[in-house]
Symmetry: C2
Subunit: 384 residues, 2 copies
Amino acid sequence: MSAPVAPLPQVEHQRTVFADGMALDCGAVITPVAVAWRAYGTLNAAKSNAILVCHALTGDQYVAERHPVTGRPGWWETIIGPGKPLDTERYYILCVNVLGGCMGSTGPREEKTDEQGRGLGHPWGTDFPPVTIRDMVRAQKKLMDHLGIERLLAVIGGSMGGMQVLEWAATFPGMVYGAAPIATAAYHSAQNIAFHEVGRAAIHSDPAWREGRYWEDDTIPAQGLSVARMVAHITYLSEQALTRKFGRRLRGASALTFLEDVFEVESYLRHQGSTFVRRFDANSYLTITRAMDYFDMAAEHGGDLSAAFRGTKTRFFVASFSSDWLFPTSESRSLVRALNKAAANVSFVEFQSDKGHDAFLLDEPEFHRALGGFLAGCADRLGV
Amino acid sequence: MSAPVAPLPQVEHQRTVFADGMALDCGAVITPVAVAWRAYGTLNAAKSNAILVCHALTGDQYVAERHPVTGRPGWWETIIGPGKPLDTERYYILCVNVLGGCMGSTGPREEKTDEQGRGLGHPWGTDFPPVTIRDMVRAQKKLMDHLGIERLLAVIGGSMGGMQVLEWAATFPGMVYGAAPIATAAYHSAQNIAFHEVGRAAIHSDPAWREGRYWEDDTIPAQGLSVARMVAHITYLSEQALTRKFGRRLRGASALTFLEDVFEVESYLRHQGSTFVRRFDANSYLTITRAMDYFDMAAEHGGDLSAAFRGTKTRFFVASFSSDWLFPTSESRSLVRALNKAAANVSFVEFQSDKGHDAFLLDEPEFHRALGGFLAGCADRLGV
């Protein structure tokens, strides 16, 4: 058995706290509720140039700057900045850590509060109520109200970020001028739920998890969370990407040993697992994977996905990647069909890429040009 | 932390022990070496009607009878029996537990022996040397020699069983009249290695594994092995199969809880994991997944797969399934191209199925008819 792993570092995040709290889809009320967020660029006087970027499962609000824990560049820094597709000289780019996250927004890692909002001296842990993608969006909406932003130039995001984009357009249609759901779907598939459940089972079976009360031991369920990350990471890539990166290359000269890492791909996966546990909270991982699994917009609208977008004036830019098998193009097509049925303004592109689901985070110039063009088109129409 | 899980039941298997032992690809020698096997039908006087069935990663020799541990029907009982495609009134059907397995053949669960073949009073555990697919085939060859079978009417198998079929045809070409590699490939892909590594990481991170010495505690690393089985099981199915079986169906009325099993697919997966640990040994799982990962027939033959089959007289029946993403049709096509380059006698069929990799084990009448026809054709030519 390996040595206990120290808890995540404490970082000061930029936060906005709403003392009135928030009611969740499950019926629970969280008081107060805090959102941690970052912004880049300048909000114009008309407050008409704001673009909300929604992050994916293990992303966070540090989208275009050095990450305070890992020291690595922001996860979408390639496309956010002066002169880039998300041009910070033209737009005001916002990104909010999701409700249930572990980078400063209210979530399992933050101090539990009672109904009067009094701190109870220990984290929420698994007492944190289940949240939905819509709950995440409602928390972001509170921040927009607080900032006086009545309409977002665009809401964009990939993967779980794309789920939030769809909920934004459906729940607050008047507030979303342009919507770019990328590498995503209007529901989480049985296969994706199954992969998530493997990750959760790995966390649950780590004795250090202790039914979520690992903070009492000043440690974390590092091994379980690492295995969860390993399996998820495979689903983010493609067979082609793995073959190009590693193929069957061996780490050492001799293959026929019981060494733990015989092939380079194994070593890479283990590295992904072990670095992840130093920046992400296991109970947050449980909470957020559940939120994704719950997501089914058609079910929220009487079984008819198009009903979610009836009468919408939002302009949609739907993007998928050809080698993405986690959120395959077929699921984007279903979404586009529903948008068509609602007579929505929608463009759809499947980008050719062999990088799998992760393509939306990587250097894909054609995708970046198209996304930048869509945002500029929205901005031109609004006179931004 | 859950209670310790009892070791696997001890079962008396039909075994043949070779006192002279066996040299492995890694250089180690195992003395003695035992193979556990089952046979159905009657070997004819000319010993010309024997078909060897090779089992997959978690299969075993109980291919056409009640399983002694689970009590369930044999894993290919649908196609083996009187009047079935593998007709026991015509053929003598053999199946051998692979070297490294846990159903009676020499493997990590059996008693460790020294170089003189003396028992050391405890299992091999992770002292068991790494084995290859070719080692498994060499052990089966010893049994064929012992039985006086000079030529097999056919060698057939799916998945890892298909890897053994290919090694049989390449290593003992004069002994294999017909070869049916099904839902397999001539190498294990980077993605497949990666999925195996997740399973191994789950076993390694289970404190009950104890670096493989769990037998000292009279328990097994049930949680780690269960997670390994869960992730593997997803790869055996297809998105379509999962959706058809479970879709997003909930187990109870209310979705928004932290209950471990919210969706039916989760409950199913957990069940798969928990039943598996009652019949399979964790160290065997580590050994056999490694053997699959090592498998790369082209590398064994100077980088040219066709060299493995140069001059072969074996008749090949290559079969794949359209929704199999673990061993996709493209890998069968590569194999067929190499066989063509060797001017081998080869037929290839991709069967339409939405059942994923597991299709080779399930009710696929078109596949069964084609396989039965191939075997009957071989038998007719040999006058069996």
